[in-house]
């Protein structure tokens, strides 16, 4: 069993009277590229900032690479973080920011950051304030990579990049993962990217973890189940129903398997990642739902 790169247990964060994150428990193994998915305001940024040690939990605990985020320089050297707004010192040039990376990080490898930026054609002698959003994002990413961390925490890192730059950055991540057992936790809205690049998923919605686990295991555990319209469970009682819709004659459900489906009335199909994500994001709050012994409900007809 591999080590965990990021473990949280019952992690929660409250700002005044609003809970940004409630009872979050995840376990991302070392060497995974984990996707953090969810609607805006679901708690993704909060989770990443808690992991980076920028904010402290209200309750619960978070552990990154075996220790709690704290201001210990040797821990900080292993953790790379890039905030969504890519904050850079605006009056400095790219060169000076790389210099900052070199002076503030003992594990800095200049070539990693500089070669990357030069091959992207980004001017390093201009003030950062004169660069575009995409160029600033590349500089921010280069600084994060140059420090050679063991885990990367990235808040929507590719949001402002063009498709080629996005593909290129994700390639850097996948190569680094292979060569150095780098762990990455990145928040993203782009399911196509997640499918190719990520092997772990954390889905946040309503400030709670709705789903977390290795992607191939999650996909293996869910099925589309289609069959004639039912008014009783129809042999699905033991499984957890994630999502359901009905027409006059047909019922379509997404279930989380708890054993095999024997009932021959049901036609079973695989679930794709995007479908899985949409189903869980659209789900009602976990605490509003009954246990997995649910009855099928009657919903209005579809045209």
């Amino acid at each position: 069993m591999s080590d965990s790169a990021l473990v949280t247990r019952g992690l929660a964060k409250r700002y005044r009277d609003q809970w940004a994150l409630k009872s979050c428990s995840v376990d991302v193994p070392v060497g995974c590229i984990a996707a953090l998915v969810g609607p805006n305001g679901a708690g993704k940024t909060t989770l990443l900032q808690l992991a980076a040690g920028l904010i402290r939990p209200t309750s619960g605990e978070v552990n990154v690479l075996g220790s709690a985020p704290y201001q210990d320089p040797s821990w900080l050297a292993q953790v790379g973080f890039l905030a969504q707004e890519v904050p850079l010192y605006r009056r400095l040039t790219g060169d000076q920011l790389l210099g900052m990376g070199a002076h503030l990080n003992p594990s800095w490898k200049e070539a990693v950051a500089r070669d990357r930026l030069e091959s992207l054609g980004i001017a390093l002698d201009k003030n950062v304030s004169q660069l575009s959003g995409g160029e600033r994002a590349q500089i921010g990413l280069a600084i994060t990579l140059g420090k050679q961390p063991r885990i990367l925490l990235l808040d929507e890192p590719v949001a402002s990049l063009d498709p080629l730059a996005r593909r290129d950055f994700l390639s850097s991540l996948t190569e680094a993962q292979f060569e150095t057992e780098l762990t990455v936790v990145l928040s993203s809205h782009l399911v196509a990217d997640i499918e190719r690049v990520c092997d772990y998923l954390v889905l946040l919605s309503h400030s709670q973890v709705q789903l977390a686990g290795r992607i191939d295991e999650l996909l293996a555990a869910h099925r589309w189940v289609v069959g004639p319209r039912q008014t009783t469970e129809g042999g699905l009682a033991q499984h957890e129903i994630i999502n359901e819709s009905h027409t006059e004659r047909q019922s379509t459900l997404m279930v989380r398997l708890n054993g095999p489906i024997h009932d021959p009335r049901w036609e079973v199909a695989d679930v794709g990642l995007e479908e899985l994500v949409l189903a869980y994001m659209g789900r009602k709050r976990v605490d509003e739902m009954a246990s997995n012994q649910r009855r099928l409900s009657i919903v209005e007809d579809r045209p």
């Binding site: 390639s171 996948t174 196509a192 190719r196 099925r223 095999p260 079973v268």
Partner: protein, 130 residues
């Protein structure tokens, strides 16, 4: 050396696509026994996919006895996938052609035929799971 291509919209998981493309290349002679499969790092960089995906595909191929991984060097082809003789393949092909004309005569268009074929394949693939 062959190059892989991923179809993100096909609904087929990436690692299966890689396995299929290796087998396809073997059947068509683009890959021969003793050839090296593309190194994981190159595939990972070129396709922008997770290394574990490629590793899983190569492991599956190794389990089927088609390839062998030599640590530190790479993954190499051991043998071609077993398959029926060309005669059997032709027989099966003709049987399929007959069924197709039956289906068309019965009034099915090509799309409906394709749907029927997909459904059968899926059922067959999932036989151990559902």
């Amino acid at each position: 050396m062959i190059e892989f291509r991923l179809n993100a919209r096909s609904g087929v998981p990436p690692y299966i696509q890689i396995v299929q493309q290796v087998k396809h290349a073997l059947r068509l002679g683009m890959l021969e026994v003793g050839d090296q499969l593309p190194p994981v790092k190159a595939v990972v960089g070129q396709l922008t996919i997770n290394a574990n995906t490629v590793l899983k595909a190569y492991r599956d191929l190794e389990r089927e006895g088609l390839v062998e991984s030599r640590s530190g060097i790479g993954t190499f082809v051991l043998r071609r996938p077993p398959g029926p003789s060309p005669d059997t393949q032709n027989l099966l092909q003709r049987g399929l052609d007959r069924w197709l004309s039956e289906a068309q005569a019965a009034g099915l268009d090509l799309e409906s035929i394709e749907a029927l074929i997909r459904r059968s394949i899926y059922t067959a693939m999932n036989e151990g799971v559902a």
